[in-house]
């Protein structure tokens, strides 16, 4: 039957039904979570959506589709009327039905051959549990102009429900061309319109009439619907926008009678509320068996072609949407892109003409603005909210949680963030991968979560937001996180990294190994506590879209996968760089920063590691690629005097002095110097990002950022891995778009080697720091004679005491002071070394009492070294020099605070003075 129906009707139906299914799914989830406090609105929405699918399916004679959606509708009706409580079993069945409907829609022509018996049986079990016999039919017969009577098989429940609400049933005939198409509608629109004022009990296209219509004037297809509404016939006709004659009211007394007879004990239903929209009828229906009634309808309606089509104003199109073919939009977008380029060319061409042509400036400005807005508008038509794919995840997570016996909540933020349609579509798979990993591996089972003192319900957050002209999608969970050790073990086992490499990897690098191709395999990944399934696919897909992936994880706390994506694929802001007289575009998403190294600093900042040039950039080693070399462009330079362009045969500036001395000799040495100072010999380095690695590309010149329209490579240029496409610049010139991954591959950059080198250097730095620390001394700076400075290590000093000269007692030529009850010998430096004596004029002197450790214990004070003053106690970092002053304990000298200072080891002095260990002086 459907073959006779216009192809576009079916396409519309499928598209619309898919939309319905998509809207049903989240609502069902809400229903499931809502439990008791379920909003009637939600059920109504689901009900209506299923209802219109059923209507359309019946109309287009997709039997299976109709049957299934009908049974689902019946169950929903019970839910709506509160006869059935929502439980997860019912929801499972409804979800299963939903999936089956989707399968049918995917292949609508074969929909009748798709088995749906299981779903039907399960649905019917519920219905039977409520005493409703599924499939109970009412035969309604109408009399049309065609000789035979048309018999509708209606579902008893719906008819009863409608009648109970005081609705009348009409038999309406619409003519496909005259009543529907000529009024700019599609059958689906017509049907939906009918549904908005009542209930469609059955609908079909009257093919039986076709044969009869052969002799009629026009071969217009009759579309027949059985329509239940509270409206009176004239209003109903108006609502349907059909001529009165095409509407006939069916006599329902027979049905009513039968219903009454069957429902003796059935309470009479609530009367319908005033509006036709009130679908919350909670009238009790009788729960009897099948109702089989034959109704002869009485009113006379002829199906003859009506003379005048009723024409009503098209007042129902405001704020509506229009389905547009995507390829048309793509074409429009390409054209808009070209328009932008042409505008740029125009602006450039006329740039100098503003004075000569009056009014030109404002015209150009106008064109400029309109073009931009036009382009933006067209881009927007292709934008889709990310919610279209986000919304499928609650369902996936729910199903997985049930299968795995876990409790998982998923929250969605930023579903309204828009991305180009093509990106949204391509994101579906990577996101599904990630979400599945979250639910499967990251979120722990309930008891494990309880043990870990976590909320038994795991959380997944899907968050989309704008950041820096890009769209970020963060998928976070509060699961167990990724165990770096296990990842590393597996990576080593798989030969992705060697053991020695592994030792040098940071935790972040290790965790990012899950993105490595070949990391995940068919082997059950659950033995790695974390994610891993197809993460390389996630990364490669994201990078294909011009975005990149980052991963953050904290063991026991959870994991966040962050995808950064461009807003659109077709027009990408790109940095234009120049090498020699070539120009190249680098997509801005890849660009991290620019670094400018002046020619004079090149030797200082650029070095070689494993034969590759690297730039020291904020303690990081940045591998460098010379674009000209990677692309094998001929090197040239400008002669500083003539400005002429010459071929430069030297390969690397770093090797300049050693190479090609002959060639150098032929050139003026002065020229050479000047040339090196010339700005053209400065290094312009564009730092690019590839995954989590950065590298620098040395270019000759940096130009503007331009919005470019990406054109694919032709079959003759596809082999060039360094490029991802070509584009036409504003000035009309064709340039290639560089591909970061391709450049790295072409230049044979090995980030692993560099990371090892970096690690090595960090260790070297640590070693140097340790060495510096060893040179660092904490000293007490003091004076002997006024202008003589001494430094004594602090850790050799026990106390510093101030004494007055009168306290000093002489025993022979030895001096003593009373220090805590015993005689402490004083040591005068000038006795042991060639230094001046402390001035004898001083009334007060200081003594420095060295700390002596014997048998692991600090001993009593042994002696005091006489000094005149204490200047400072400080940490100094000095290299000691030898001094001519000789004596016990003289370590050397250094300049401290502008004074030559003698460094002394006091213990040696004590030994020399004979106050330690009984050693003689």
């Amino acid at each position: 039957m459907s073959s006779l129906v216009d192809e576009s009707i079916i396409t519309d139906f499928v598209a619309e039904s898919r939309d319905h299914l998509n809207s049903i799914e989240p609502d069902l989830l809400v229903m499931e979570q809502g439990g008791e406090a379920l909003s009637q609105n939600v059920i109504n929405r689901v009900f209506r959506a299923i209802h219109s699918i059923k209507g359309g399916a019946g109309f287009l004679a997709f039997e299976s589709l109709k049957k299934l959606s009908h049974s689902m509708e019946s169950v929903l009706m019970l839910l709506r009327e509160g006869k059935l409580a929502v439980n997860s079993e019912i929801m499972d069945i409804l979800f299963a039905g939903l999936d089956r409907l989707r399968t049918m829609l995917d292949d609508i022509r074969a929909s009748d051959s798709i088995p749906c018996q299981t779903e039907l049986v399960r649905l019917n079990v519920i219905l039977e549990g409520q005493g409703i016999v599924p499939g109970a039919m009412v035969h309604v017969q109408s009399d049309t102009s065609s000789p035979e009577k048309r018999v509708f098989d209606l579902d008893a429940e719906s008819v009863k429900a409608a009648l109970n609400r005081g609705m009348s049933i009409y038999h309406a005939t619409a003519y496909l061309h005259r009543d529907i198409k000529d009024q700019g509608k599609t059958p689906m629109v017509f049907l939906n319109n009918a549904l908005s004022v009542g209930q469609c009990l059955d609908a079909f296209i009257d093919l039986g009439a076709i044969a009869e219509l052969e002799h009629c004037l026009e071969q217009d297809l009759a579309v027949t619907i059985l329509f239940a509404t509270v409206l009176e016939a004239d209003l109903a006709a108006l609502a349907l926008k059909l001529p009165m004659e095409q509407l006939e009211r069916l006599d329902t007394t027979a049905i009513r009678k039968q219903m009454k007879a069957e429902s003796k004990e059935g309470e009479s239903s609530n009367l319908p509320k005033g509006t036709n929209e009130s679908e919350d009828g909670n009238g009790e229906l009788n729960t009897g068996g099948a109702v089989i009634t034959e109704i002869e309808e009485s009113s006379e309606v002829s199906a003859q072609a009506p003379e005048q089509a009723q024409s009503k104003g098209k007042n129902d199109t405001t704020g509506e949407t229009l389905r547009v073919r995507v390829d048309l939009l793509t074409e429009l977008m390409n054209q808009a892109g070209e328009l932008v380029l042409s505008r740029n060319q125009l602006l450039r061409a006329l740039a100098g003409q503003h004075r000569n042509i009056p009014g030109l400036a404002s015209i150009l400005q106008n064109i400029n603005q309109v073009t931009s807005e036009l382009q933006e508008g067209i881009m927007q038509t292709r934008m889709q909210p990310i919610g279209t794919i986000f919304n499928r995840f609650p369902r996936i997570v729910r199903d997985m949680a049930r299968n795995l016996g876990k409790q998982i909540d998923i929250a969605i933020k930023g579903a309204e963030v828009e991305l180009d349609k093509s990106i949204v579509e391509l994101l579906a798979d990577p996101l599904t991968h990630i979400i599945r990993n979250c639910a499967d591996h990251a979120i722990e089972p309930v008891d494990e979560r309880k043990k870990a003192n976590k909320n038994p319900t795991g959380n997944i957050l899907l968050h989309a937001y704008h950041e820096g002209g890009q769209v970020c999608i963060a998928i976070s969970d509060d699961g167990r996180g990724i165990d770096a050790k296990k990842v590393l073990q597996k990576a080593i086992a798989k030969g992705l990294v060697t053991k020695s490499q592994a030792e040098e990897m940071t935790e972040r690098e290790i965790v990012n190994l899950v993105f490595a191709p070949g990391f995940s395999t068919a082997e059950k990944v659950s033995d790695i506590s974390g994610r891993g399934v197809g993460m390389d696919v996630v990364r490669s897909n994201t990078e294909k879209l011009g975005g990149h992936v980052e991963l953050q994880t904290q063991t026991g706390q959870g994991t966040t996968v962050l995808l950064r994506l461009p807003l659109t694929l077709a027009i990408i802001p790109s940095m234009i760089v120049g090498v020699e007289d070539h120009r190249f575009a680098i997509p801005q998403v890849n660009v991290v920063e620019f670094v400018w190294v002046r020619a004079v600093d090149v030797a200082k900042r650029i070095e070689r590691v494993h034969g590759a040039e690297v730039l020291r950039l904020r303690d990081q080693l940045l591998p460098l690629i010379r674009l000209a070399e990677v692309l094998e462009l001929e090197r040239t330079f400008y002669h500083p005097k003539t400005g002429e362009r010459l071929t430069d045969r030297r390969i690397e500036i770093a090797d300049r002095r050693s190479r090609d001395s002959q060639e150098l000799a032929t050139r003026d040495a002065e020229d050479e110097m000047e040339r090196r100072k010339d700005w053209r010999s400065d290094y312009n380095i564009v730092v690019l990002r590839l995954g989590s690695n950065h590298f620098g590309v040395i270019v000759d010149e940096l130009f503007d950022i331009e919005e470019i329209v990406v054109k694919p490579l032709s079959e003759f240029t596809q082999g060039c891995k360094c490029f991802s496409g070509a584009t036409i610049l504003g000035d009309g010139r064709v340039i290639m778009i560089l591909d970061a991954g391709g450049l790295v591959a072409q230049a044979h950059l090995h980030f692993m080697d560099l990371q090892a080198e970096e690690k090595h250097r960090r260790e070297e730095e640590k070693r140097m720091a340790a060495l510096a620390a060893s040179r660092r001394r904490s000293i007490i700076l003091c004076t002997g004679a006024d202008d003589e400075f001494f430094a004594i290590p602090q850790d050799r000093v026990m106390r510093l005491e101030k004494i007055t000269m009168t306290d000093v007692q002489l025993l022979g030529d030895r001096e003593f002071v009373d220090y805590r009850g015993h005689g402490l010998p004083l040591i005068r430096l000038d006795r042991f070394m060639e230094v001046k004596p402390v001035s004898s004029d001083l009334q007060e002197i200081f003594i420095l009492i060295p700390k002596v450790i014997e048998n692991g214990m600090v001993t009593q004070a042994k002696a005091g070294i006489v000094i005149s003053n204490i200047i400072d106690a400080k940490d100094v970092e000095v290299e000691l020099e030898n001094v001519k002053v000789k004596g016990p304990g003289v370590l050397g000298s250094a300049i401290l605070q502008h004074h030559l200072t003698l460094f002394i080891e006091p213990l040696e002095l004590l030994k020399a003075a004979g106050v330690m260990g009984g050693e003689a002086a």
Binding site: K711, T717, G719, C720, A726, M736, Q746
Partner: protein, 157 residues
């Protein structure tokens, strides 16, 4: 009878069925594509569309063409253009490439009429490299017209 656009590479005159040709232009600002095949001269901007230009000299085993005042690009029709126009040559549906492609040649000559059926195999004096890309020769009033086998030029090894 078919009409052939003639063009010159060095001293030799070649012919190409005009039904295969989209246009002939002098857009000689050709952007080279590093790492592409040696005979891929580069890309040009043909009113907003990018066309790959093949250096026919290099392709036929001759030297790289120098751009001169007489240099031209012969832009071929794409596969879809040929298909929609149902262009048959020698009774065969002709095929070029899905992408826009053109040949850089030294000079353009007249369009001449010649009888396809008089086509002879390429003479022995052409080099083997060159011979692979030729479909034959036709004797005309003005001399020998060497015909290219576009299929081989574009897709041969």
């Amino acid at each position: 009878m078919s009409q052939f656009a003639t063009f010159r590479l060095g001293e030799r005159m070649f012919g190409l069925d005009i039904l295969m040709i989209r246009e002939i232009n002098r857009l000689l600002d050709i952007t080279p594509v590093p790492h592409s095949a040696d005979y891929t001269r580069g890309l040009i901007n043909l009113r907003g569309q990018i066309v790959t230009i093949i250096d026919l000299g290099v392709r036929l085993g001759l030297t790289r063409r120098e751009i001169s005042d007489n240099s031209h690009n012969i832009i071929l029709k794409t596969d879809s253009e040929l298909t929609s126009a149902r262009i048959n040559i020698d009774g065969k549906q002709m095929s070029t490439s899905m992408d826009l492609v053109g040949f850089l040649v030294d000079a353009i000559g007249d369009v001449i009429e010649a009888d396809d059926s008089k086509k002879e195999p390429a003479p022995a004096n052409v080099s083997e490299a060159e011979g692979r890309f030729l479909s034959g020769v036709i004797k005309t009033d003005t001399g020998l017209l060497v015909l290219l086998s576009i299929q081989d030029v574009l897709h041969g090894n």
